[in-house]
């Protein structure tokens, strides 16, 4: 395990610095260099969040608040991308690209070499495994200096997707994360929370009636880790309301809350996210929703940002939320809870 981690640490510095590709010809750094021979991988990657890791509006909005090198280490990790941060540039816009994951010292890295491969490929069994993904998807709160450069990491997790996976029922899946995230034909789509189908696959939502109460159940049935897992601001909202009385709406927050720490970082002080295979129920007295007698509405909403409805000037230019499940019904028509 230790040897493995050291090996992996060499591919991704975990936000401690840019990804160095050693002696690699500049022409190999852009995804364009691979597109002709790997059109399927390229097409899927181009539509993925990895390709948009630098340009997407949600990231850019947060980055602009306090532009810092630390963010760049994971969202546009190559040294040559760092060099374009001040001025902008096409390589910077590629976010997490082919070279970041596959190229070091001019050579291709992969788990195995394919029979008709023209590359002088370096293979490693751990390539693409959960800990390898953890090179970017598992880290603790940082302490940053005035320029946003990392001073040190604190012990408190900021994103713990791999640890959650390890502790959950999918830990032994031979395909690891890729069984769910690289199952597309070209294996590079990496769909996640921005993909409505993935959200539907992850989350079940059920409503029933118990006497004068309604009961909502939210369950993580399909993710290999907590939902939500990654970025600090992500959360779910389970809501029940009468459309004629929005002000009496019931709302449950599923996500994390943090408090600043003396060490300069933050710590999670509340976590109502759903570990894999778990459920949470919310019992709401009907009377609390206003007594007007109209239909009841229910929804489970995934929110990407801290602010569900951004104020003027803070609109990231892409959706800040997505409804995963919704239903409407008269109280009398709800199935009884058993």
């Amino acid at each position: 395990m230790l040897a493995l981690l050291i090996g992996l640490a060499q591919m991704f510095p975990g936000g401690r610095g840019p990804v160095g590709v050693g002696d690699t010809p500049a022409a190999m750094l852009s995804a364009a260099a691979c597109a002709d021979c790997h059109p399927d991988e390229h097409r899927e990657w181009a539509g993925s969040r990895h390709a948009q890791a630098w340009t997407n509006g949600i990231f850019q909005r947060e980055y602009r608040q306090k532009p810092g090198a630390w963010c760049v280490h994971c969202h546009a990790p190559l040294e040559a991308q760092h060099a374009q941060v001040g001025t902008g540039g096409p390589l910077l816009a590629e976010g997490v690209n082919c070279a970041t994951c596959h190229v070091r010292d001019g050579r291709i890295h992969a788990r195995t070499q394919r029979p008709d491969s023209p590359h002088e490929t370096v293979t490693d069994d751990a390539f693409g495994g959960p800990d390898w993904c953890g090179g970017c998807h598992e880290f603790t709160f940082p302490v940053l200096d005035g320029r946003g450069e990392l001073v040190r990491y604190t012990p408190h997790p900021m994103q713990a997707t791999v640890a959650q996976f390890r502790a959950g029922p999918h830990a032994r899946d031979p395909e690891g994360c890729r069984g769910c995230h690289a199952a597309s034909p070209g294996q590079h789509a990496y769909p996640g929370a921005h993909d409505p189908r993935m959200l539907l696959r992850a989350l079940a939502f059920d409503v029933c009636r118990a006497g004068d109460d309604v009961v909502m159940t939210v369950a993580n049935v399909g993710a290999g880790h907590d939902v939500p897992t990654g970025d600090v601001h992500r959360h779910l909202l389970a809501r029940a309301w009468r459309p004629t009385a929005p002000e009496a709406m019931f709302e449950a927050f599923l996500g994390r809350r943090y408090a600043p720490q003396a060490d300069g970082g933050k710590r999670t002080i509340w976590d109502s996210g759903l570990p894999p295979g778990t459920r949470r129920t919310y019992r709401v007295p009907l009377a609390q929703l206003g007594d007007d007698g109209g239909p009841l509405s229910f929804e489970l909403r995934y929110v990407y940002t801290g602010d569900e409805f951004p104020r003027a000037g803070r609109d990231p230019g892409e959706p800040t939320w997505r409804v995963v499940h919704e239903q409407r019904s008269a109280a009398a028509d709800l199935p009884p809870c058993d």
Partner: protein
């Protein structure tokens, strides 16, 4: 590449809704975030709009009301309730509390609506309805061929006369619309909270200006934005000019821009601001602010004070005008009330701007200041320009980070505040009022690049 942040409305995001239930019509309650009216009564009884403003139609409180302010008994007066835009609306139902329902006595003393024309916008469908001369709720409904709804207008056609006053009153209106757009309850709830917050701020302002204290307030009860001044069409963007950070660079870009757009009477102050920024504030000496009057000007007057948060989120003001003196400090409105003391070993401006000075790492924010003074005839030094940099820890996504927000203040020959500038705004002040209050001015927001005049808004003479 950094792009300028355009000021757009969050309502656009509602279009992101997924299909499923969206096409099924449902009757839902809508909360307007504000209400417009043809007029409202504004006198010494509601100097801070603690009542009578059209917003009180939608606060759910029968003790408050919209009271029209035109001459006559109120026929022809109207209110417009702006709603979350909805598609496929087929029915509008209103619940109305007619008259001033604070007490039975006031109900009779003031006028009530007798017939009202309900207009559905943008389509313009109208329907005249009769209202009962009674306290409590009454229902009004307008059926429509399916259409878009963005606002509802109520125009008063006839009134029941009041026994004592001519003023027409409506205590409350609730809006219910049957439509197909996704029902977004949290959004509506947030709008109601906005009205409640506004109401609380009006009451707080009234308190802050009570009695003797009001006389020394350098600001009026409220300011209103005017229409944007004509665009010169020269595309401009503080982010593009200065790339990331570079707050003083952005401030300089803002004052240079304002100099091109502002009215001539402000050119003198702006020339000095440009000179100070161009000279990197080299002629400024570090000072400490020790004002005798430590009061703050309430935020609610429509002038938003610069604050530390702007360092992270950019200058922002929901309703008013950006750029009132840093942290709302009253003393900053006049050069003679600043109370500046020279300091010896102050940190370098560059270190404070970079939030690297020791005090920037504390959770209680600190103001650092630099001033350029001139000697008057009596040999006394008068501050002409002041650069205030507020710094301290602010909570960000990673933890508490040191941040700094600068503001340049330029004083006129009479010692009154003539201009403020930050990294994406410039505000220019007029003092045409006798008692020494800001009467209005012009302001530049460089996010979205709008240039707005603003003016003091005052109650009419007591009735």
């Amino acid at each position: 590449m950094m792009r300028s942040m355009r000021i757009t409305t969050s309502l656009l995001l509602l279009a992101a809704a997924s299909p499923a239930l969206a096409a099924e019509p449902v009757e839902r309650r809508l909360h307007p975030a504000s209400v417009e009216a043809s007029s409202f009564l504004w006198n010494d009884f509601n100097k801070f709009q603690e009542n009578y403003h059209p917003n009180y139609l939608v606060d759910g409180d029968p003790k408050t009301a919209w009271v029209e302010g035109a001459k006559g008994a109120g026929a022809g007066e109207w209110v417009r309730l702006k709603l979350t835009p909805l598609e496929g609306a087929t029915n509008v139902r209103l619940k109305v509390r007619n008259g001033y329902q604070k007490s039975p006595g006031l109900f009779r003393a003031n006028a009530r609506a007798k017939t009202v024309t309900v207009k559905v916008l943008p389509g313009g469908a109208t329907r005249q309805v009769a209202l009962k001369d009674a306290e409590g709720w009454q229902d009004v409904a307008v059926a429509l061929p399916a259409q878009k709804v963005e606002a509802i207008e109520l125009r008063v056609d006839e009134v029941y006369a009041g026994t004592k006053y001519e003023d027409l009153c409506l205590s409350d209106v609730q809006v219910f619309v049957t439509a197909t757009t996704r029902d977004n309850p949290a959004f509506e709830k947030a709008k109601l909270e906005q009205i409640q917050k506004w109401k609380a701020e009006r009451l707080a302002a009234a308190k802050a200006f009570k009695g003797e204290a009001a006389k020394s307030m350098p600001v009026a009860a409220q300011y209103q934005r005017g229409d944007a001044l004509p665009d010169r069409g020269d595309e401009w963007d503080v982010w593009g000019v200065c790339e990331n950070g570079g707050q003083l660079c952005q401030m300089r870009a803002s004052v240079e821009r304002a100099r091109l757009r502002a009215s001539a009477r402000f050119h003198g102050a702006l020339d000095r601001a440009v000179a100070a920024a161009k000279g990197d504030f080299a002629a400024f000496v570090p000072v400490q602010l020790a004002p005798a009057d430590k009061r703050k000007v309430p935020e609610v007057d429509g002038l938003c004070a610069a604050n530390l948060w702007w360092a992270l989120e950019g200058p922002y003001c929901s309703e008013g005008v950006l750029g009132a003196p840093m942290d709302g400090q009253l003393s900053l409105y006049r050069a003679d009330t600043l109370g500046t003391l020279e300091v010896k070993d102050a940190p370098a401006l560059a270190d404070v701007i970079a939030a690297e000075a020791p005090a920037c790492k504390r959770s209680v924010a600190t103001n650092y200041a630099w001033a350029r003074g001139e000697k008057d005839a009596a040999g006394k030094t008068i501050v002409r320009e002041l650069l205030v940099v507020r710094c301290g820890l602010a909570e960000s996504r990673e933890g508490e980070v040191p941040v700094a927000e600068p503001q340049l203040l330029v004083y006129g020959d009479d010692g009154r505040l003539a201009a403020t500038a930050g990294r994406a705004y410039v505000t220019l002040f007029d003092w045409r009022d006798a008692p020494g209050r800001v009467s209005g001015g012009e302001t530049l927001y460089s996010w979205g690049d709008t240039f707005l005049p603003f003016r003091a808004f005052e109650p009419v003479a007591a009735r």
